[in-house]
Structures are given as structure tokens and as C-alpha cells.
Symmetry: C2
Subunit: 261 residues, 2 copies
């Protein structure tokens, strides 16, 4: 990425003496991110991977903050973020502990993104695409019934841009997302939009990595065009089928991109 080298002035980072490995590893701050955000992400990943098991009790805030070399305020704000996503639960006297798996908001956009950054488990990937296979074809069905002419036009334009640039370019990927977003909006269902868009956004992140391993495994345009035609023609059944096929192929691509070389 971009070389943010120099970094001479940093004084806080210097406390990088390594302490007991099992306990609290020091936080490594991502380039542009806030401190609490980096910590939240790291802890979230550790929780999701099971490294911090359900029910795990964190040290007291004062002690823990000291361990990882961060202020109590920042630590607490990171905990609030995790708490809002159902990952941890804090109570006076009882302390802060990892919540039961059942209470995790697995479909939260941030959690999805973080999970994909850290190589998600194949099981979860499978579950996610199974859910997509349930939701998105039905969303396409709704879109075929409810789309406006303006939305058809917008999807058409996005499809053209996508065909022109290809998915290897930034502009092409943007057009792809635009295409799917407009289709979602055509469903006129806020709940469906919220669900599908957060999943799509997470998967889109992997698209970038996809390009590294296999160079354009296939042409995605025909499938998109079939979907577009069905929606434009207000044919719900065809839209359903086209979207299902699209997801099936996306699963294959994603599996390939996540396989170890």
C-alpha cells in the first residue's frame, strides 16, 4: 500500500517490550485506524476464532489497560464497540467476559469484514452462502416485481460500465457493487437491503484478493446480463433463478480465492 514510513515522533509505541506471551499481547495499530478500533478488531478476531473462548474473563480494566499499554478510556471504548456487537458483556463486580456464541451478531458488517480479513472458517463461509442462496434470489424476485424504470436504467448503466472496465479494475468493481445495490433497492424492503448489502460488502473485500490467485477465472458479464434481463422484463421466476446461479458461481470463486496455494 502506501509507504507511511518515517513515523519518528511516536513515543507511545516504544513500549514494545514483549511480556508474557499467553497473556496480553501488545496492540499493533493499523495505519490509519484509531487505537480503540484496532484493539476492538484484534479482540473480535480472537473471539471469533475461539482463541478467546466463550465465557473467558478479561483482567480488570485498570490492569488490562496497563498490560497492553493503552489508556483505560480507550480500552473501555473498544469494549463498548465489542459489547454493541454482542461479543462481550461487562458487569460491575463480575468483570468483562466473552459472551456466549449465540449472542454474537455474526452478520454485523464490521464482524464480517474482520472475519474475512482473517481468513474465515470454511464452515462459516458455507453457512453464509447458504443464507445468501436463501435471501438474495428472493430479493431479486421482489426486485423484478417492484423495480421502476429509473432503476432499470441505472442497472443498465452499471452493467455497461462493468462490461467496459472489467472486474480487474477499480471502476469495474464499483460498477458491480452499484449494479447489485440498485437491484437491492428495487426490492423496496429495508430489512432485506440491510442484510444483503452487509454480506455483499464483506464478500466484495475478497474480490480484490480473488484477482491475485486466478486471473479472471471466467467472464461474469453473461450471468449478470441474464439477471438484468429478468428484472427488466419483470419476470420474478427468471430473476430468482439467475440470482441463484450468480451466487453459486460466486461461492466457487470465493472458495478458490481462499484456498491455500
Amino acid at each position: 500500500m502506501r509507504g507511511e514510513l518515517e513515523e519518528v515522533t511516536m513515543n507511545r509505541q516504544i513500549k514494545n517490550f514483549s511480556l508474557k506471551p499467553g497473556a496480553g499481547a501488545l496492540i499493533q495499530q493499523g495505519n490509519g485506524k484509531r487505537l480503540r478500533g484496532s484493539l476492538a478488531q484484534q479482540l473480535a478476531v480472537q473471539i471469533l476464532t475461539g482463541e478467546l473462548p466463550e465465557g473467558h474473563l478479561f483482567p480488570g480494566e485498570i490492569e488490562y489497560a496497563e498490560q497492553i499499554g493503552i489508556s483505560r478510556s480507550a480500552l473501555r471504548e473498544a469494549f463498548r464497540t465489542l459489547s454493541a456487537k454482542g461479543l462481550v458483556d461487562s458487569r460491575p463486580k463480575a468483570g468483562t467476559r466473552v459472551s456466549l456464541r449465540r449472542q454474537w451478531s455474526l452478520l454485523d458488517p464490521d464482524l464480517l469484514a474482520w472475519q474475512f480479513e482473517a481468513e474465515p472458517s470454511l464452515k462459516f463461509l458455507h453457512d453464509l452462502f447458504e443464507l445468501r442462496m436463501i435471501v438474495e434470489p428472493n430479493a431479486a424476485e421482489l426486485a423484478a416485481e417492484r423495480r421502476t424504470e429509473e432503476q432499470v436504467q441505472a442497472m443498465h448503466d452499471a452493467l455497461e460500465a462493468m462490461a467496459h472496465h472489467g472486474l480487474a479494475t477499480e471502476a469495474g468493481r464499483l460498477a458491480d457493487q452499484q449494479f447489485h445495490m440498485v437491484m437491492l433497492e428495487a426490492s423496496r424492503n429495508d430489512a432485506v437491503i440491510a442484510l444483503a448489502s452487509s454480506i455483499m460488502a464483506a464478500i466484495a473485500w475478497t474480490t480484490i484478493y480473488k484477482q491475485r490467485k486466478r486471473e479472471l477465472p471466467r467472464d461474469p458479464i453473461p450471468d449478470h446480463r441474464a439477471l438484468f434481463d429478468a428484472v427488466a422484463a419483470s419476470d420474478p421466476r427468471a430473476a430468482h433463478a439467475a440470482m441463484a446461479e450468480l451466487i453459486r458461481l460466486a461461492l466457487i470463486d470465493t472458495e478458490i480465492s481462499l484456498q491455500p496455494d
Copy 2:
């Protein structure tokens, strides 16, 4: 502008006079809840209802905290909670503002609960049940294919308890939730479980109010039994149909319970 009284000593709680709703209404703390939690909930509701529109810029933290009579730390932690749910976005120098609707995590369990506490819009209610109608019958289908004998037994027990106590009692409602939870788990899909359980939990909250207006509008046991039979018999198609019927009826009940008298 703001009623900045003498501030004699602490006695923060006593300032519960209601003032102009638009500006900085004082926070009214729910009984058991934490201060930041109450604030987060109030702001969330105001955002979801559009009282605080997309893009709305909050006052600076120091000033705002003073306005509503709360410390800056607590205010910031409330903002972190809202930020984690995609409702607000904070940047240095730019301030904190309400995010675009597109980024709200509408299916977040807390947001759902808060929305149902404050009478959700009929549009969103409709959207939500449309999504349920898409997801849960398919989840039941998966459950019918994958359930274990232990799960069948557990569902059976829950169904018996439900029939015994009735939905008017706490025990009965608990058995109902237990029944649905076991069925979800039988689907063996974490993504589906996370989605359906959070929606169900929110709806369950309204079940309590349901009982106030109409006294047991109908007997829910037969429908549940039909669903159970289908899953026990490993009949996916029947399970799908039974769950769809169950949701259809649940929508009717919920609409009734939310109608003004």
C-alpha cells in the same frame, strides 16, 4: 436555550423535568440501565424515527455533554455504541453526525428491540415479516433435513410445556422460544441462526403486549404441532409450509397488538 440550573451538588437524577424535545432533551434514565445505555437508546430511537435526520451534526462533545447533563466519557461511550451499529460516524475536526440510512444495521438485536419498544413503523414491520417469510421457512426446511433425534426430543418437550402452560404465562412463552431456538439450531447454519434469533427475540417482546389487548386470539398449538411433525418426519416441504403459515399468523397477531385501540 438550555436550562442550566445552579448545579448545586450532584443530584443529577433529579433534573427529570421535560424540556424542548428538539434541542438537547435531558436524559431520562431507565431504572436498571446504565447511563450511557439509556442515552444510546434514546438517540437511536430519535435517529430511527427520523427525528434526527440523516447527516445531522451533533454539537461538539464538550458542549453536548454539558447540555444533556452527562460527562463527556459517558457521552462518548454512548456514541461508540451507536457507531458500532452504524448509526453515527465521528471524525476529528468534522464532528459526529448521523450516518446515511444505508449504513444502519437495522437487524441488530438492540436496534430491533428499541424500535419495537417505540412502536415501529408499519412499513418496517411489513419489511421484517417479509424477510422472515423468506428466511425462516427455509430454515425450517434445513432443520427438517438435519435435525438430530435429541433435537426432536427437545422440541417435543418444549411443545408439551407450551401446550401445558399456554402463552399467557411466562413459562409458556419461554417454552415457545425454546422450541423455536432448538429448531433453528437444528438448521446447523450459524448465519441463519444469528439472523432469525435476533428477529424472533425482538418480536417476542411484543408478544407480552399482545396479551393485553386481545386475550388469546387463537390457539397457537396446532400450528406449532404441524411444524414439529414435519421436522420430526424429516419432511422439508411440509416444514417449509408449516413455518410459512406460522409466520403469516404471527404477522396478524403483531399487527393487532400494535394497532391503536
